[in-house]
Structures are given as C-alpha cells and as structure tokens.
Amino acid sequence: MPDLTHVPADVADHLDPPPFDALVVRGVRRRRRRTTSLVTGAVVAVAVLAATARVVTGDSAAPEPPAASPTVLSPSEARALIHERGAVVTALGLDDEGRELAVWAHRRSRESPSAVAVRAADGAVALGMAPGALDDVVPVTGGWLAESTNDGSRTGSVVLIGPDASVTTLPAPTGTTTPQPGDAAIWVGLALTLYRPATHELFEVPAVALPDSQSNPVVTASGSLVTLLKQADTVSVARLEDGAWVTHELDGSSSPSAHLLGGGGDTLATVVHHHREPETTSYDVVHLSTDAGATWRVVPAPPRLGSITSIATTTRGTTFMTTSYGLLRVPAEGDAELVAGTLFGGVLTDGDRIMMSNGRIYSRSDDEGASWTVAAVPGREDAPVETLDCGFAPTPGPDQVLVSFGCLPDHPERAAELARVAAETSTEERLTAALTAYFAGPPPRSGALWSLGSPDTLRAVVVEGDRAIVDLDLDGGIASTSAQSGEIWAALTTMAFQFPEIEVMEPRYYGSCVAFGAAVGAGECLVVQRDGDYVPG
C-alpha cells in the first residue's frame, strides 16, 4: 500500500474556507432561532410586566427620553423605505397604551437601515429611522428596546424606540447590577443585558453563566430575571437573585433542543421542544407556573401540536402559543385548547389584546381569540388589506416565468405573478429569475401575499439534467418556524416544477443540503421529486 497521506494535504491546499463568522452566525442563530423568530411574541410579555411594575413602584409617568445619544427622526426617509418594493416588516410590537410598532427594512441587504412606524391608539402614525437592523424588540415603559446590528458597532448595540418613533442609541453598559421591578432584559449579541427604564441605563448581568442555548429572558414583576438554561439533556428555569442563579430543573426526560419562555404578572409559561435523532421526530411539552416560577405543572394539550413557535401571556394569566396546527390557548387553570386555525408568524399581547403577525398584516382579537379582525401594519395604512389574489395562478407565456408567493392568512392556496424573461433563456436562468423575483418580495399592493428572505437569500441556482439545485442563505432565522419552513418548501418546489424538464429539486444552505434540512427542521438532507415525494438526498 503506497503512502497516501499527501492526498488530504493536497486537497487542503486547494481550499478557500468560508469566513468563520458565517458559521458562528449559523450556529448562534440556530440556538436562538426559536426565540428570535418570535420577535414580538414571548418577549412582549415583558411589556406587561413593565406595566405591572410601574404600578408597583408608583412611577406612573414615562421617563424622559435619554439624551446621551442623538435621536434619529427622518420621517421622509422612513416613508420612502416603507413604500419601496422589497420593504418588509421585520418586527412588530405593542405597548400597554395601545400603540403599535412596526419595524421595516429592505430585503436587499441586511446592512441597510430600518424604518420604524408607531401608530397611536387614535390612529396617528409617527415615522423614524434606525441606522442598522433591529433584530429583537422588547417593549418597555416608554417605548421599545431593540438590538441593533450592522450599525457600525462590532457587537451590536441597544436602541430605544420612543412613542414618537425616535430611535436613540443607548450608552454601553458601564457596570453590573441586580434586576429590579420594571427592568427589561435583552440579548445583545451573545451577552445578556439589563435595561432600567427610569434612568435609561444598560447593565451587564453579574456572574451570569450563559446557557448552552439561549432563550428569551423575562424580568418578573417582583424583579427576578428569569430565563431557561439548557445544559446537556436538561432544561432548567434559572432566576438571577442577589447576583446568583437559582435553578429549577424543568425537563430532563429526553433530548430537549430548544425552548421558549413567556410571562405576564406572576404567570410564566414555557415550551420545551424535544428532538429525537435519528428518527427526527419532535414534540413539545408545555409547562406553566402561576407563582412566578416557584412551582410548575405540565399542561395537558392536544396530542398534535407540531412546533410551537411563539408564546405570549396576558395580564389575566392566559397564555397563547402559535403552533403548527393553530393558536393554542393555555388558561391559568385547566387544559389547553386550540382556538384558531393555522396561522403564520408570532403571537403577541399588550396584556389585553392578542395579535398574530402575518407579514404585512396582522390579526387582532379583543376577546381572547374568539373573534379576529385583520388590519394593516403601521406605516402602510394606505395599502389595502386584501386577500383576493390568493389562489391566482396565471399561465406564463414564452417570455414569462411564474413567481409564486404565500397567501395570508389561513389560505392554503398560493398566489402568483408573472416576471418577464428573455424568451430564449435557459431553464437555469429562468428559474433564477423566478426565485430572484420571489426573494425581492410581492408587489406592494398585495398586502395578503408574502415571501421569505431577501435578494441576498438566493446564492445560486444550478440545473444539472433534470435536477435543480437551489442554494440559499437562510441566516437570520428565515425558515425558523414550521410555517416558514412550509413556505420555503412550497415556494421552491412550485417555481422549480413549473419547468417540465425539472424532476428533482435539491435545496441547499450555504452549499449544504444537510444544513438546509437542519435549518427547516427536517433533520436531514431531503430533495423533492416532481410527484411531490420528499426523499433523502
């Protein structure tokens, strides 16, 4: 046997490794996926706690805005961004005074600034700009906190969005403190940070043992910072009290892989996601505490829930969770029940109203899910809320390709528009054109249509014989919920199989089919055949 040890070295010499930071982002986003996807879901419960704490402390007036950093207000620039084709809502929020927040960004680049629109209870809308992307939104007294990234700072920063849509960068933490009633907590990069509304100060958390996997933090009405810790095969509730973490094992029964935490008043609710390998089956277990985390019980829930993707708790102690099969209502006492059909996005509350975000529109319920109304998100009050395009499927001409969008809400059909291409282009170029149009987003007038990602999402399209390989960049939790995963599969297959010469569609994430399968929750590399079968690839 000859010496073959030179072969790996020869291969290594020809490599061009991707930036390590790209892998870090993939890994961290994977850890945070199930919480960051909520945006305004679980974390909105902090607003309820903040409101409660304000009563407790007697601080009935909103604090003065911070003066340490410039406030950005550019209504005309914000209006232009919001009305551009490709502008999408990246976060929604509510506060306890009935204000509604929408954060808008353009799909073309995560480096681009964000616009914020705040609609008051009387319908008045204020617009402002943020220098970077706003990844998380946490309601606090006097506005919303957000993690700002791609704004020129290496590790991100924290901004305060005011009721007037002003965006103010807060000074970096200068010390540590223990949580107090009314504080809020937010992840900034990989650091857990406390915010004190009374003084607009940020603090590092003392002696924090960061979990293997992050979950959203909650500051309880009594001033405890609560989060979930996943260590090995155990998920524990952890409370930071007097500078030390006190943990309570919540679930050590099998292999929990992700978890969510929401809270309102003294009610805390969690969902622990279990993933079994190699069978790749998954299930969720709901835990509820009505005494600020001192004791917990497992809530009986319908057997089929699929993935639970967001969680919010009202001041009455009723928790709502969005699941693969609809909205789950978990009362403080009694069993859980499904109260609405399949919906997209996350659930949020201002303590009383329940809202579910669905891209550019949202559904609102004032009676705990019994009835719903649909409204436009702040900033696009001019756009009609319509669903009439759902189910529309035109036949492409020789110089056209079909661009297929998701349809909202509760519509199983898809909707399509036609994009023009040169008549003699190759299948690869035509599929590229269709996917490019998809990731650019639906026409602005189509308030009922949605798509995922941004133009940056599409990395490459290769057609080899009857096989279409679509390589995507799914960073940022684009396919983090089951509804989003379903949408990305539906979009890719619909657009690939409009070309009769395509028999197999293989999706990839940064060149990896395995990574795509992991990102969408399939757990393995799957390809789709024209007959609709998903088979290991």
Binding site: M1, P2, D3, L4, T5, H6, V7, P8, A9, D10, V11, A12, D13, H14, L15, P17, P18, F20, L23, V24, R26, G27, V28, R30, R31, S153, R154, T155, G156, S157, A172, P173, V188, G189, L190, A191, T193, E204, L210, D212, S213, A232, P278, E464, G465, R467, V504, Y510, G511, S512, C513, V514, A515, A518, E524, C525, V527, V535, P536, G537
Partner: protein
Amino acid sequence: MPEDTQHDALRELYVASYRRLVGQLTAVTGSLAEAEDVVQEAFVRAVASRRTVEGLDNPEAWLRTVAVNLARSRWRRTQRFLHLAPRLVADDTDAGLSPDTTAVLAALRTLSPTQREAVALHHLADLPVREVTDLLGVPVGTVKARLSRGRAALAPLLSDHDPSSDLEDRHA
C-alpha cells in the same frame, strides 16, 4: 458592551483544523463538496455546543467524528439516489487537484463506503487503528478486515504508486 470573544477558541480551531478535516473527509466521502458540507456543518454544531466542545481534550477529534457521522448518514440516504451521486461526485473532485490526488480519490470511490472510511481514516488521515475503531464504533477486527479488503481492492488501481512503500497498519 463586552467584546464577542466567546468564539475565539473555536475560531482558532477552525483556522487550524478546517483544511485538514476537509482533506480527510474528502477521502472519507470521495467528494470535496460533500466534505466541505459536513465539515462546515460540524463547525456549526460546535458553535451551537460551544461549551461542550471547548471542554474536550481533543475538539478536532470531536469535529471529525461529527463530520464522519454526518457523511455516513448521507451515505445511507443516498442509496436511493445512486444514479445521481456518481455524476455529482465526479464533477466536484477534479477541480484544481493534482492528477495523482484525483486518481486516488477516484480509486477510493470504487470502494464500499465502510471500506473507504476505514482506508481513508487510517491510510490517508493517518489515524491509528485504535482511533479509527473508536471513531467508527466498530471492533478492531472489523476495522482491520475492512482495511485488508480495501487495500486489496485498491492495489490494482494504485499500481502507479511506489509499491515499496508498504504501510499496512502502520500504527496498529
């Protein structure tokens, strides 16, 4: 705001190990593209399990094990797509590699996956037999049998190589 230094150790590991691992996994999988897939995925999992990985005595061995397991999972799944795999493999391994390396990889692809992983890990990645058995989770005798059969299958295909360089079970 604290600097993001939490991944510095993994970053150093990435710089030190990525090329080596891809080189080894290319031999294991027979495909450069697939090797990059599984090694990148292994690093993504390392980031997601940073504390666990950084606490290991040999994190590169952990990454190699994860990558090999990912590759093995893919082998099992691709059994139903054998008519597609050869074409894709043949396309991606020729780019930029020396003719000698290309020939060795082509020869390795003729082996069964189990023989190939044993041969690749022992004769190309230069791992001792004991480490190969630990990595693959099979008895020493099984690994030696696979090595023996693999060498026999490769012999006629690698006849251009120096026959005097007999490296059978160098580390056994």
